[in-house]
């Protein structure tokens, strides 16, 4: 169900609850009003009955016949009133009690009537009348008291109903919003972890069947986005690869043309100025040609070496051990260059699955670059860590050398790109990049001119690669 619908449903249930509570409260108030009305009528009747009893006593004491007319008119008046408020009374006390009240009144009226007609003043008639009067009055007073009592009970019931319904509404609101919010929270947490993974360059998907609400739509959209980004990344890598072939070819042409031109110019000049050259100069010319030829040979050798598809000899390895072995290779260089090493190697690293020789080549390349960037000496920091979420290890190689200018930073992995004048072939980082990519890893670089450069290599753990017994 959609969240929108859930909220509508929740609100509708709330409104229904409140209307129900209102109706019950209204019904109770009506009941109270009916009973209250009855008690007002009953008080009137009770007063009349009391007067009738007083008149009856007067007749027996003083024999005042006029009293009968007085009582009779009150009985008639009461009968009329009873007929008039009949529905009210029936509603309040029921028809049985109403009929009984009428019966009592009827008996009393008959007795009055017979006494008046026959002018009884004997004790038996007197007693009968007194009893009937007493019955009438007691019954009337009893039902009045009963009704007053039931008004009290009704008020207490209303109070209880209101209290319970108030609790029910609050509880329902709490439970329902909690239910909605908890589902949204769960989905949002999934979305957050997914976007974090995407920002780290992974493109996982939320695999659970998404719910049929708005959060489900969001998750579907994000899954689609992750897939789109992944495809885009593949395209970009492909187009970068093509561009880098172009850069490579142009670079190769330029690299070869320079020594070729040098040889050619030496040869042409040699012919032109031959007569004016001393023996030493001629030898020097030939030596220069030899040097340039050697330069060409080196370029071609490097190219072939890098172009050759290398067979990977993969095995399990301990990252920290690989780093230590590599450091022993460059230790001498570091000592000469007055560079201090600071190691911060994590102890909980899982094994990686690598061609150790190739990874050492990358690390030597990084160390060499760092050394060359710190010609006044400095500090080489090597840090390792494990990223359990991505099942990756990271090797961070940082220096406090001269740094790389921002405009060069995008090109340092391009073939033949170098900032090292004569010293660099411009192939080291390009090759390193290729090696790490072949290991399904990644290289990032951050640099600030005058502060230093940090390369971060990430490699999947052998467990992530699905290597047995990892």
């Amino acid at each position: 169900m959609k969240i929108e619908h859930k909220i509508y449903l929740s609100n509708s249930i709330h409104i229904l609850l409140i209307v129900l509570i209102g109706l019950v409260a209204l019904q109770n108030l009506n009941d109270i009003l009916t009973k209250f009305r009855f008690t007002v009528i009953a008080e009137g009747l009770n007063a009349t009955f009391l007067e009738m009893r007083l008149a009856e006593k007067n007749y027996f004491f003083y024999g005042d016949v006029e009293t009968f007319n007085n009582i009779q008119s009150r009985i008639d008046q009461t009968n009329a009133t009873l007929l008039e408020v009949r529905p009210d009374i029936i509603r309040a006390v029921g028809s049985a009690k109403f009929t009984k009240l009428q019966d009592y009144l009827h008996v009393y009226a008959q007795l009055i009537d017979s006494i008046r007609k026959e002018n009884h003043r004997d004790v038996a008639a007197q007693k009968k009348l007194r009893e009937a009067g007493q019955d009438l009055k007691t019954f009337s007073e009893d039902i009045t008291a009963l009704e007053i009592e039931s008004i009290g009970a009704l008020i207490v019931r209303s109070k209880n109903i209101l209290r319970v319904s108030f609790l029910a509404v609050v509880l329902f609101a709490f439970l329902f919003s909690n239910l909605i919010v908890r589902n949204i929270g769960k989905s949002l947490r999934k979305v957050i972890s997914l976007t974090r993974a995407i920002s780290r360059g992974n493109y996982p998907k939320i695999k659970e069947q998404p719910s049929h609400d708005e959060m489900g739509e969001v998750i579907n959209a994000i899954n689609a986005m992750a897939e789109g980004l992944h495809n885009r990344e593949k395209e970009i890598i492909q187009s970068k690869r093509l561009a880098s072939i172009g850069v490579l070819v142009a670079g190769v042409a330029h690299e070869l043309n320079n020594p070729l031109n040098n040889i050619s110019m030496i040869a042409q000049t040699y012919t032109e100025v031959y007569d004016g050259l001393s023996k030493e100069q001629r030898i020097d010319f030939m030596e220069q040609i030899d040097e340039e030829t050697e330069r060409l040979r080196l370029i071609i050798h490097n190219l072939l070496d890098y172009a050759k598809p290398k067979e990977q000899h993969l095995s399990r390895a301990d990252t920290n051990q690989v780093i230590k072995k590599t450091l022993s290779l460059v230790q001498n260089m570091l000592n000469i260059s007055n560079i201090k090493i600071t190691l911060a190697l994590a102890e909980d690293l899982p094994d990686i699955y690598i061609d150790e020789h190739q990874i050492q080549q990358v690390l030597v390349n990084m160390a060499t670059n760092a050394i060359q960037a710190m010609d006044q000496g400095g500090e080489l920091r090597i840090t390792t860590r494990y990223l359990p979420d991505d099942e990756k290890i990271e090797i961070e190689i940082g220096d406090n050398g001269k740094g790389i200018a921002p405009e060069f930073l995008d090109h340092i992995f391009d073939p033949f790109f170098t900032t090292k004048e004569e010293k660099g072939t411009g192939l080291g980082l390009w090759v390193s990049f290729g090696i790490i990519k072949n290991h399904q890893g990644n290289i990032r670089v951050t640099s600030q001119t005058g502060i230093g450069t940090t390369f971060t290599i990430s490699l999947p753990s052998c467990h992530k690669l699905g290597v047995a017994n990892c």
Partner: protein, 122 residues
């Protein structure tokens, strides 16, 4: 008659050295530079007749040398050489009024002929 002067700029040292030898034998005065910055600095002190410059250099490159020379010393002829056989750059250089454009490896005879043309000696 005063000697014509040639400035050669190339980060490949051999280019300067060879050009110096061969052009000096022909009676030119030659100064060589390994980068654009030092060459442009020298131009403020001494006027040259011809500037032969490499295109791709660290820092101030050949195109920048060409533009600066054409702006400050429009009388100086500029000849461009490059190991990049890239037509786009050649076209851009021509737009900026380069006298000649040679891809490496350079034929010294052609270079000499170009210098002579530039000086109006042919």
């Amino acid at each position: 008659m005063t000697k014509h002067s040639i400035m050669v700029i190339d980060d490949e040292k051999i280019v300067g050295n060879m050009a110096k030898l061969t052009f000096e034998q022909d009676g030119y005065e030659v100064e060589t530079f390994l980068n654009g910055e030092s060459a442009l600095a020298r131009l403020t002190e001494k006027p040259f007749d011809i500037v032969i410059t490499d295109l791709k250099m660290k820092g101030v490159d050949g195109l920048e040398v060409l533009r600066t020379v054409k702006k400050l010393y429009p009388g100086i002829k500029v000849i461009m050489i490059t190991a990049f056989a890239n037509l786009d750059v050649a076209i851009e250089a021509l737009r900026d009024d380069v006298h000649d454009f040679f891809p490496k490896p350079v034929k010294i005879k052609e270079l000499k002929a170009s210098v002579k043309r530039a000086l109006g000696e042919e």
